[in-house]
Symmetry: C2
Subunit: 332 residues, 2 copies
């Protein structure tokens, strides 16, 4: 869409980075973002995203990953009776006037990208969406958040509202993967990362790198004594387990800091296919982590302990797809 198509061979085996045409390295930038306030325009946010992209480029990145709902504040914290009032937070096309400079800069840099935004479709559907572009700035993949947390109606028992189930419909595209950057790339969003099904469905398609943006309140709205340290622990635990159990890289990127008085935790992570953290954000602000991810590091796990074809026993998994909620056995 923007810029000339690049030679796919150079994309697959970047000789400039590794000096070894047989290696499959993706230099990924986790571009954590600090808070976005209600009054901040899309244009101002895109300017920040471009600054992060320039920094990522200077560090050799060929893929940049931004948070969920990267263009706006995390608006599901507010209740409005008429949901249509909140269409101001949604994008009707992508790219659009506000985001075009970001796509153009990505094409200039020859950098693939992933970011999240609120999507309003031409036929009136609302999704919490993420896209993947190739190195020419062309959108090659779209994901719509499947696991929406929170609730639909105002809940006075919570310390703050989390109305994702009010403003979004559950994603209708499933968990796909795309061949990009010489590897197999998948996407998920925020709460999806706590669900092992997310990673497994992509793992069953051979995923080598999962990109996940998130906005996660530092306070549990229903358990105020759960401190931010425990919430960061759950973040790491979910991402590390998903990486290890599917032998895939996972890049999890936060929007962090205090938005309109509501703190979001940071802790953006890059996790290797052994489940080890190789990079972790230290601030709650705009911050770039870059790591050279060897996609072939996924091979060992995928061909030994997690060789699904040899070891999985789907005849015993049927409840996972036949039953949504938990059904305890009858009382004795």
């Amino acid at each position: 869409m923007l810029g000339a198509a690049e030679d796919p061979a150079s994309r697959r085996f970047p000789p400039d980075i590794t000096g070894n045409s047989l290696m499959r390295i993706v230099n990924v930038a986790a571009a954590q973002m600090g808070p976005i306030q209600k009054a901040d325009s899309r244009e101002a946010v895109v300017k920040r995203m471009i600054a992060l992209m320039d920094e990522a480029k200077s560090k050799g990145a060929d893929l940049i990953v931004y948070p969920e709902l990267a263009l706006t504040t995390f608006f599901p914290r507010w209740y409005v009776e008429d949901r249509a009032e909140f269409d101001i937070w949604f994008e009707r096309e992508m790219p659009n006037a506000a985001t075009r400079p970001l796509f153009e800069r990505a094409a200039q840099h020859g950098m693939a990208m992933n970011f999240g935004y609120a999507e309003l479709t031409p036929d009136g559907h609302h999704f919490n969406t993420a896209i993947l572009t190739d190195k020419t700035g062309r959108i090659v993949g779209k994901y719509r958040k499947v696991h929406l947390p929170g609730h639909v109606e105002y809940d006075s028992k919570r310390s703050h509202q989390h109305l994702e189930k009010r403003y979004f419909e559950p994603g209708d595209l499933g968990f796909k993967v795309w061949r990009e950057l010489g590897g197999i790339i998948g996407m998920a969003i925020c709460n999806d990362r706590r669900w092992p099904e997310t990673y497994r469905v992509m793992g069953l398609q051979g995923v080598e790198m999962v990109l996940i943006g998130y906005n996660t309140p530092s306070v549990n709205a229903e358990k105020s004594e759960e401190g931010v340290e425990k919430r960061l622990f759950h973040n790491r635990l979910s991402v590390q387990a998903g990486a290890y159990q599917n032998a895939t890289w996972v890049v999890a990127v936060a929007k962090a800091g205090v938005e309109d008085g509501h703190p979001l935790f940071g802790g953006s992570l890059i996790v290797d296919p052994n489940g080890e953290i190789v990079a972790e954000a230290k601030t709650d602000d705009d911050e770039v982590l870059v790591h050279a991810c060897d996609l072939d590091a996924t091979t060992f796990g995928k061909t030994t302990i997690f060789d699904f074809a040899r070891h999985r026993r789907i005849e015993h998994y049927s409840l996972i797809t036949s039953q949504t909620g938990a059904v305890p056995p009858p009382e004795k």
Copy 2:
């Protein structure tokens, strides 16, 4: 089977421990075992198990959890051409002459128990099995290991053999749960703990405590540079994620130490429904950890972030049960 049936009400609400008849506390003992050598008789092993049980009783336990293949050495490390030679490692009935004293002591103590053994059925099937007894020593549940690691034939490329797929058939009972001790209890064995499907199938039945015995070599037979610290990390990661993502207690119990020159790691764990480790073994030998597990601590997770009925989207999980191995998308 052994001893008089106990009043179920006292089982459900042990007033002697909590002083509060409304609490559901299970005092669980993780009974890690040190190595069992080839020459050690079943009788000698049972004597050790009874000593661990007595110690657990003195610490107030009402459930004791022993490792996988608790009665013998980990024989799948040896190759024999004629598998029938290895029937010596299998039990044809349970209890049997060697294990009866263990069942009797459990009934005396009023202690439920879980342990693993190699099972040879009357019709000639071989399973890696675990049982659950109630506080009277009666077997109330049986589980047969579903996820068998390793291989069938001698593999000269490995630093040591791991022939579980040679000596056992995959379990045919699925992942059931049982109402015991006032709660909902499930079982799994060793390598099962690395598979999120294991916990999820039980989670979908409302499981509140999962009992897992294991024997895990300290060395990766196909990756000698993977040190024991990384292997302990994977053990913790898998168990903690399974606990958190299903809001359940998990008790994971090792056979540890050097058997016939082959080291097994210890690191037995009790993990709470938030995924936090509440007790961890410090030795590679016989060692008892006891923890008072409040089964109602599972309620918060099960009714909020992991309220499956509200949040799971089974329409996007179909690959998990329709496809065993990974199938990458076509090359571009």
